[in-house]
C-alpha cells in the first residue's frame, strides 16, 4: 500500500450483496435494502450486532417518493440504534457510499461498517424522467423543457464531433454490455444484440437511440467494510480499498468541456495518487465504469485515463474491453445490461470488482488474472465523479 496520507486503519471489503434489478419489484425500498444488506453480512460471516455504523446511499427522494429516504431506509439497512448517515451525490452516490464507508473505518472511528445503496425508480409517474425535469435552472433552462436524454444527446453529439467517432463504434458498447449481462443473475436487460440492432432501434433524441440507454430499475446493493485487524481475522481474501477519489466540475454544465469528463479525471487522479498508481492503463486490470448510456463508458474510460482522448472507441472495436481482452470494462454487463437503479447501480459496480478480485465472478470472471480493479460513477448535475480503487489481498 502506498498511502500518501495518514490513516488510522487500512480498510477492506469482506462481503457483498445484491438484489435482482427489475422494474416494479414487489418489495418496498426498505425490504430491498434489507435483502442486499443481509446477503452482504452473511457473505462476510458477520451478524448485524457486529456492525458499528451504517452508511446509506440513495439518490433523489422523488424516485421512491419518500422524503428523508435515508431515514426511511435505515431499518432495512441495519441502522437501528447505530450511527447512521446518508450520502447523496446524484448518480455518483453508488460509488460514493463505499467511499463514505471507507472514511468511517479509515478514520479509526469504526471497525465494521455496512454500506447500503438502494433505489426504487418505478413509483414515479408517469416516468422517473419527470424527476429530472427539476434539476435545471428554473428560469433560463426549464422553459425549454429539457430532460436528461436531451442533455446526454447534446454531450454525446459533441463527443462524436470532436473526436470523429462513428455511431457504430459507440453501439459496440451496448452490444458488449448487454451480452455480458446474460451471465449476471441479477440482470434486467441481458441480451444478444448486434450493432445493427442498436443502429436500427427507435431514434429518441438524436443521436440517442433506444438501445443506447439503460433501463428504469428497482434494486439494492451492499458491502461490508472493515478495518485490517478484523479483515485478517475473518477472511483469507480481503479486498483492500487502495484509493478513493471524488470531484465536482463546474455546476454550469454549459461551461464544461462536454467532449471530455474532467470531473472523472480529477476524481481518478485523487484515487490513483492514494493507491500509488502512475500508469492506470497498465496498472488497472479490470474496471467497472459508469455506463447509463453507451457513449458514457467510452467517455469515462478516457476520463479515467484508461484510454487516450477519443481512443476508447478504438479499444472497444479491437475487443480489448471484452471479458477476455487486455482491459475488461464492465464485465458485469454494466448499467446497460444489469440495470440502473441509480445508487444501487453504482454499488453494483463495486460488488462486481469485489467478486472479480476474489475470483468469485463465476461465468463473468475475466480471463486474465486480476489484482487491481476500479469502479466509477458519475452524477449530480452530470458533473460529479466518484472513483474507488480496489486490490486483491
Amino acid at each position: 500500500m502506498k498511502m500518501n496520507i495518514n490513516l488510522k486503519n487500512r480498510v477492506a471489503i469482506v462481503g457483498a450483496g445484491l438484489t435482482l434489478f427489475r422494474r416494479r419489484l414487489k418489495e418496498t425500498p426498505k425490504e430491498l435494502a434489507w435483502a442486499a444488506a443481509k446477503m452482504a453480512l452473511e457473505s462476510a460471516g458477520l451478524e448485524l450486532s457486529d456492525v458499528d455504523a451504517v452508511v446509506i446511499g440513495t439518490a433523489p427522494d422523488a424516485f421512491d417518493g419518500i422524503h428523508m429516504k435515508g431515514e426511511y431506509l435505515a431499518d432495512g439497512s441495519g441502522g437501528t440504534g447505530k450511527p447512521v448517515m446518508r450520502v447523496y451525490v446524484g448518480g455518483g452516490t453508488g460509488v460514493f457510499t463505499p467511499i463514505a464507508g471507507w472514511w468511517h473505518v479509515a478514520s479509526g472511528l469504526f471497525d465494521v461498517v455496512l454500506a447500503v445503496a438502494e433505489e426504487k425508480m418505478s413509483p414515479a409517474m408517469p416516468h422517473p424522467q419527470s424527476v429530472f425535469a427539476h434539476i435545471w435552472d428554473p428560469i433560463i433552462e426549464r422553459p425549454i423543457g429539457p430532460n436528461l436524454i436531451w442533455i446526454f444527446a447534446l454531450e454525446m453529439h459533441r463527443y462524436m464531433y470532436k473526436y470523429n467517432i462513428k455511431k457504430e463504434d459507440i453501439a459496440r458498447v451496448s452490444v458488449k454490455n448487454k451480452r455480458n449481462a446474460l451471465d449476471h443473475p441479477a440482470a434486467q436487460l441481458g441480451a444478444k444484440i448486434t450493432v445493427e440492432d442498436v443502429l436500427n432501434s427507435e431514434m429518441l433524441v438524436y443521436p440517442v437511440q433506444r438501445l443506447d440507454i439503460s433501463p428504469v430499475s428497482d434494486g439494492a446493493a451492499a458491502v461490508v467494510m472493515v478495518s485490517e485487524h478484523i479483515a485478517r481475522r475473518i477472511t483469507d481474501s480481503p479486498v483492500w480499498v487502495e484509493g478513493v477519489g471524488w470531484s465536482l466540475d463546474t455546476v454550469h454544465w454549459t461551461g464544461r468541456d462536454l467532449a471530455y469528463p474532467k470531473y472523472v479525471e480529477c476524481a481518478a487522479r485523487m484515487a490513483y495518487k492514494m493507491a500509488g498508481i502512475t500508469n492506470p492503463a497498465r496498472e488497472i486490470d479490470v474496471a467497472e465504469v459508469y455506463d447509463p448510456f453507451d457513449y458514457k463508458e467510452l467517455h469515462h474510460m478516457e476520463g479515467l485515463m484508461l484510454a487516450r482522448k477519443g481512443e476508447a472507441p478504438i479499444l472497444t472495436r479491437e475487443g480489448i474491453t471484452e471479458r477476455d481482452g487486455d482491459l475488461p470494462i464492465n464485465p458485469s454487463g454494466g448499467l446497460l445490461g444489469v440495470g440502473n437503479p441509480i445508487a444501487a447501480a453504482g454499488m453494483m459496480k463495486v460488488t462486481e470488482i469485489y467478486w472479480q478480485l476474489r475470483g468469485e465472478a463465476g461465468k463473468r470472471q475475466v480471463k486474465k488474472p486480476v489484482y487491481t480493479g476500479l469502479a466509477q460513477a458519475w452524477g449530480d448535475l452530470m458533473q460529479v465523479g466518484t472513483v474507488i480503487v480496489l486490490r486483491a489481498g
Partner: protein, 157 residues
Amino acid sequence: MSWDKSGDPRILRRWFGDMEVKKHIYTMGIAGEIFMKNLKDKGVITGSRCDECEVIFVPPRSFCEYCFSELTVYEELEPKGYIETFTIVYEDYHGERLEKPLIIALIALPNAVGGIIHYIREVEPEDVYIDMEVEAVLKPRDERAGNLSDILYFKPT
C-alpha cells in the same frame, strides 16, 4: 450585490414553477400485502413475529430490524388495543376551526412493537385518556378495499 429589501414580489420579474412528479404509485411490499389482505378478508390486524428477539411487529414487517432475521410467521390479532398516546385537533391545515374536534391516537396492541395511528370516535375529547381500551370499527366486509380506511375509527370498548 444589492441588499435592498423588496417586500413585494410583484415588483420583481418572476417565474412560477413546481418541483413535483405528477404522482407516485406506492406498493405495500411483502409484509404489507399480507396486512392489507387480512384486514380486507378477515377484519383482523396482522403482526409478524421475531422468535429471536421475542417481539411482534404491528403492522407486520418482513425482516427484524434488531437482528436482521427474515420474518415469515404472521399472527392475526383482534383489532383492539389501548391508547398509547393521543392528541386533539382543533384547527385544519388552513387554520379554520373544526366543527368537531378530531381525536387522533396511537393505538398499541398488547405485547406488540408499533401500533396503528387512527381516529378515536364515539367518545368526547374530555373523556379520552391514555391506556383507554379501544376497538376498531370496520367497514362492512363487502365495502372493504384493503387499505387503512377499511378501519373507520377506533372506539372505547
